[in-house]
C-alpha cells in the first residue's frame, strides 16, 4: 500500500517514478526464490505433481455460459504456481523500478534503453511464437510472456551497467 501511495505522490508531483534503493534488495529477495521455483515447475512441475495444494479464493472463474454457475464466485485454485507467479511479478517490479545506489542521468538513459530493448525483444519473441506455436500450447506462450519483459529488462539493464563499468577509459 505504501508503495502505491509513494508512486502516486511522485506521479502527481511529476517526479521520478522510481522507488527508494532499499526496495531493490527486497525485490531480489522475492525474485530469486520465485525464479528458481518457476524453473523447477517449468522443468519438473508437470510430471511430478506430488505436492499440489489448492486454496479457496474469490474471483472470476470462467464463462457463465460454460459452467452455468455465477461467474464471480469462491472456488479452488492451485496455490504453488499462483504464489510464485505473484512473488516473481512483485520482485521483478521492485527490481525494475528501484533506484540504483547512485542514480544519475546516464543510469536513466540505460534504464530507457533496457526498457525499449525488452519490449521490442518481447514482441519479436511473441511474434515468432504466434507463427510457430498453435492450438492449446499457445496458452503456455501467453503465460510465459507475462514474465519475459521483466526478465529481458533486468538482464539487459545489468549487462549494460556491467559493460560500462568494465570499459575503463582512465
Amino acid at each position: 500500500m505504501y508503495i502505491i501511495i509513494y508512486i502516486w505522490q511522485n506521479y502527481t508531483n511529476m517526479k521520478s517514478l522510481l522507488l527508494p534503493q532499499v526496495y531493490k534488495k527486497i525485490g531480489w529477495f522475492l525474485l530469486f526464490p520465485a525464479f528458481i521455483a518457476g524453473l523447477y515447475l517449468l522443468i519438473w512441475g508437470t510430471t511430478t505433481n506430488t505436492y499440489n495444494p489448492r486454496i479457496k479464493t474469490y474471483g472470476y472463474f470462467g464463462s457463465v455460459f460454460a459452467s452455468g454457475k455465477p461467474v464471480i464466485r469462491f472456488d479452488y485454485i492451485e496455490l504453488i504456481p499462483n504464489l510464485f507467479s505473484i512473488l516473481f511479478l512483485a520482485g521483478g517490479i521492485l527490481v525494475m523500478f528501484s533506484k540504483e545506489k547512485k542514480e544519475d542521468e546516464y543510469i536513466n538513459q540505460i534504464r530507457l534503453n533496457a526498457l525499449q530493448y525488452a519490449v521490442f525483444v518481447n514482441y519479436i519473441l511473441l511474434f515468432l511464437c504466434m507463427i510457430s506455436i498453435h492450438s492449446f500450447e499457445f496458452l503456455n506462450v501467453l503465460f510465459y510472456n507475462l514474465f519475459t519483459i521483466i526478465i529481458i529488462y533486468i538482464l539487459r539493464f545489468h549487462f549494460l551497467i556491467y559493460k560500462n563499468s568494465t570499459n575503463n577509459n582512465e
Binding site: 547512485k102 538513459q109 570499459n167 575503463n168 577509459n169
Partner: protein, 66 residues
Amino acid sequence: MNNKIKIERAVNNLTQEQLAEKVSVTRQTINAIELKKFVPSTVLAMKICKVFNKTIEEVFGLEDTD
C-alpha cells in the same frame, strides 16, 4: 558532440572518480561522456565546466553530424 573533458581532467589533475564526485554522478557517467557514448544534459555540462572554470564552448563542441 565533442568534448575535452579528458584533457581538462589531465590539466586539473583529476581522476574520473574525483570529477564524478564533484558533479554528483557516477564514474561510469564521466567515462561514457569521454567516450562520446552519452551526451550530458545542459545542467551536467555546466557543472563540469564550472569545475574546470571554463565556458561551455571551451569544453564542449558540436560535430559535423550534430
